[in-house]
């Protein structure tokens, strides 16, 4: 009987096993890096219709977040400002700048400025800004150093794991209520963050839900 397979075929099973191990390793590493929100979401910085600089307004000028996102303490949704809010200043400052044409158009016609949404909560997730802000969770925790961004970029992964990290142990992520919109505030050290956070958890009766229906209502 002639040989159907060459002698080198004896090594095939081993080669196939090695190949599969390497391939699955590459696939796992690739999926872990390229398919998680740390890669797919972080860094998203679309071109906005108005080149609004948070670094200028919130950073240099020191305008409080709540001046524009005025409902954040009372509403589930952190609102975008209407053109009226912009025009409070810009009817005096740079009132003829071509960069602000879109804002002036919105102010005159009532049509919204077509901002591009960056932080997108999925439809099946219930997220309430007010409850977080009122319990000492800073804007910075989820949105990062906005006051230094020329163009706003997605800074944190905002994955479910990201939410759960804090919901399982909120203490280190809490700060005094009056420092919530101060994006430069940091606790003195980790020990203080812990002691202070534990006190907030106790005093404010913070019990973040970890059950499915807490967020997937």
């Amino acid at each position: 009987m002639s040989n159907i397979f060459p002698k080198s075929a004896n090594k095939l099973p081993l080669q196939i096993i090695v190949y599969l191990v390497v391939l699955s390793g590459i696939l796992t590493a690739g999926a872990t890096y390229y398919m998680t929100p740390k890669y797919t979401r972080v860094g998203y910085a679309p071109v906005q219709p108005v080149p609004y600089s948070h670094a200028l307004h919130a950073g240099q000028l020191g305008i409080d977040c709540r001046y524009c996102h005025s409902n954040v303490e009372t509403s589930g949704v952190a609102n975008l400002p209407t053109a009226q809010t912009c025009m409070n200043c810009h009817n005096q400052v740079k009132k003829d700048s071509p960069l602000l044409a879109v804002v002036r158009h919105s102010f005159e016609t009532g049509e919204s400025v077509p901002w591009v949404k960056i932080h997108q909560t999925p439809d099946y997730v219930y997220f309430n800004h007010a409850i977080h802000v009122n319990r000492g969770v800073s804007c910075w925790e989820c949105h990062g150093q906005i006051n230094e961004m020329e163009v706003v970029a997605h800074d944190k992964p905002l994955s479910m794991g990201f939410c759960l990290d804090c919901h399982r142990d909120p203490a280190p992520h809490l700060r005094p209520r009056d420092q919530v919109t101060n994006l430069d505030w940091r606790p003195a050290n980790a020990t203080e963050a812990r002691t202070q956070g534990d006190k907030f958890v106790h005093d404010w009766n913070i019990k973040p839900p970890q059950s499915c229906s807490g967020c997937h209502r």
Partner: protein, 482 residues
């Protein structure tokens, strides 16, 4: 005893008690030779594709397309296209899952437990029964996977670290089910494949001799260089024995864990300690029903009467009878416990099963599962092949209804009368389930066309010729004294 032993070397007491001469059943009839067995089994594969095969295959593909259509529609639309609604949120999908998983159990029992118990009659049916197991697991897996709705998230069933921090609830029997069924599937495939290797090598050599390069290459690929050397056989036997050992607990564990899906809940009619043994018996019962349904036509079409003898049919019928009777006992015991526990909810559930809105299903179940197998007490019935086949169909029907009765009646009448309902399947569910018989048949038809339906080497080992100690009794008839 040594003092009583005579010079011939056997205890003297034997002369006084005159032990009965027990004829050993002949497993390959008509004194067939080794070469006849090879020619017979390989002939099925090497011969021209019969016309009936093409017809069956076409019909099976058509039926299978119903499953494809049903599932496509479900994925495109949403899981709401099934007839599930409060309070019945488990219905045909889980019924069909348990039904198909149960059918597989005969294959595992035949391969594992009967192997360890040296029940040599298993050799004629084990290959096909193992194939049946694998194909049944395939059909079963369709239902829970698609019941999750968004099937691209089905991987949530497995504990894979992910950025959602979703981790499985290991206290849930549904999670145990994932592991039980996937282990069962894997071990069944391995067992089947290991058993196939020597036969694939035979086919490789025969196709090589016949000059069919492609098929000898393909069979050779899967035969993995089998040359039938002494060392190969020694490793093969050991691997087979180890796998039989691994599979043996699986026969019991898989359906035990499937039964936990219900028994661990608190619903009257589900929350019962009898469930594990009752489900295992039911699974083996339904599995042997399916083995009979498949093997009897196969035996007739390919004229395998010498290999699947009346003795084989008797054995299968007796196992069906035994397990069917256990199932009947379990039904009775459920009623007894419902009364004896003096639990009004338990009592209501069982009265409701037998006389409530689903009474029709209950009595179909009782007639098929309790009454049908009792016919197998009679030798005349067991000798009448077509009647055995008809009874095996009833067993299959009955076991489907058993799962329907357990799952749907309990859910439709839960603790809150205000939420009571009546479940009817949607057309999509009916199509999907109907189609799985096509999926199963397509796979089984491909199996009988391209793979040896019986393990040739093992069959040869149980022929009378293989009995080298022919000095005991008459070697030609295969009888020997015990």
């Amino acid at each position: 005893m040594a003092a009583h032993a005579d010079t011939a070397g056997h205890p003297a007491i034997l002369d006084e008690v005159k032990p009965a001469v027990l004829p050993r059943a002949i497993l390959v009839a008509n004194n067939r030779s080794f070469s006849w067995i090879t020619e017979k089994i390989c002939g099925i594969i090497e011969g021209k594709t019969p016309v009936w095969w093409w017809w069956c295959f076409a019909v099976a593909c058509f039926v299978a397309s119903f499953t494809v259509a049903g599932l496509t529609y479900l994925v495109a639309t949403g899981v709401g296209v099934w007839g599930h609604a409060n309070p019945v949120n488990w219905a045909w999908d889980i019924v069909n899952f348990v039904f198909w998983i149960g059918i597989g159990h005969a294959g595992t029992l035949i391969s594992a437990i009967l192997c360890l118990l040296r029940q040599k009659w298993r050799t004629s049916i084990n290959r096909a029964a193992e194939a049946m197991t694998i194909f049944a697991v395939v059909c079963a897996a369709i239902f829970p996977v698609f019941h999750v709705g968004r099937i691209w998230y089905a991987w949530f069933l497995f504990p894979i670290p992910n950025s959602n921090y979703i981790w499985q609830n290991f206290r849930s029997p549904l999670e145990w089910d994932v592991f039980a069924v996937s282990t069962y599937g894997t071990v069944s495939v391995l067992f089947w494949y290991i058993g196939l290797i020597p036969d694939l090598a035979v086919l490789r050599d025969r196709f090589e001799a016949a000059g069919n390069k492609l098929r000898s290459f393909l069979y050779g690929l899967f035969a993995m260089g089998w040359r039938g050397s002494n060392r190969h056989w020694s490793n093969y036997e050991m691997a087979y024995l180890i796998l039989a050992g691994i599979s043996t607990p699986l026969v019991l564990s898989v359906h035990t864990i499937v039964s936990f899906d219900f028994a661990v809940s608190l619903l009257p009619g589900w929350h019962t300690t009898i469930f594990p043994p009752y489900f295992v018996a039911g699974a083996i019962f339904s599995g042997f029903g399916m083995v009979l349904t498949l093997m009897l036509p196969l035996r007739a079409v390919y004229h395998l009467e010498d290999l699947i003898t009346q003795y084989h049919i008797d054995c299968m019928c007796k196992i069906t009878l035994a397990t069917g009777t256990i199932v009947g006992y379990a039904y009775a015991m459920e009623f007894f416990i419902a009364w004896y526990s003096a639990n009004p909810y338990e009592g209501f559930t069982f009265i409701n099963r037998a006389f409530g809105p689903y009474a029709w299903a209950y009595w179909i179940m009782i007639s098929c599962n309790v009454i049908t197998p009792q016919f197998f007490w009679f030798k005349k019935v067991r000798n009448c092949t077509w009647f055995v086949w008809v009874l095996s169909i009833f067993v299959n029907v009955g076991m489907w209804f058993e799962r329907f009765v357990i799952i749907v009646t309990s859910l439709a009448r839960d603790f809150l009368p205000s939420s009571w309902g009546y479940y009817s399947p949607s057309i999509v569910e009916i199509f999907t389930f109907f189609g799985t018989f096509g999926v199963f048949s397509v796979l089984f038809l491909l199996f009988i066309r391209f793979l040896p339906i019986m393990p040739m080497a093992e069959l040869k080992a149980v022929t009378p010729q293989a009995d080298v100690h022919g000095g005991h009794g008459d070697p030609a008839s295969g009888q020997e004294t015990h």
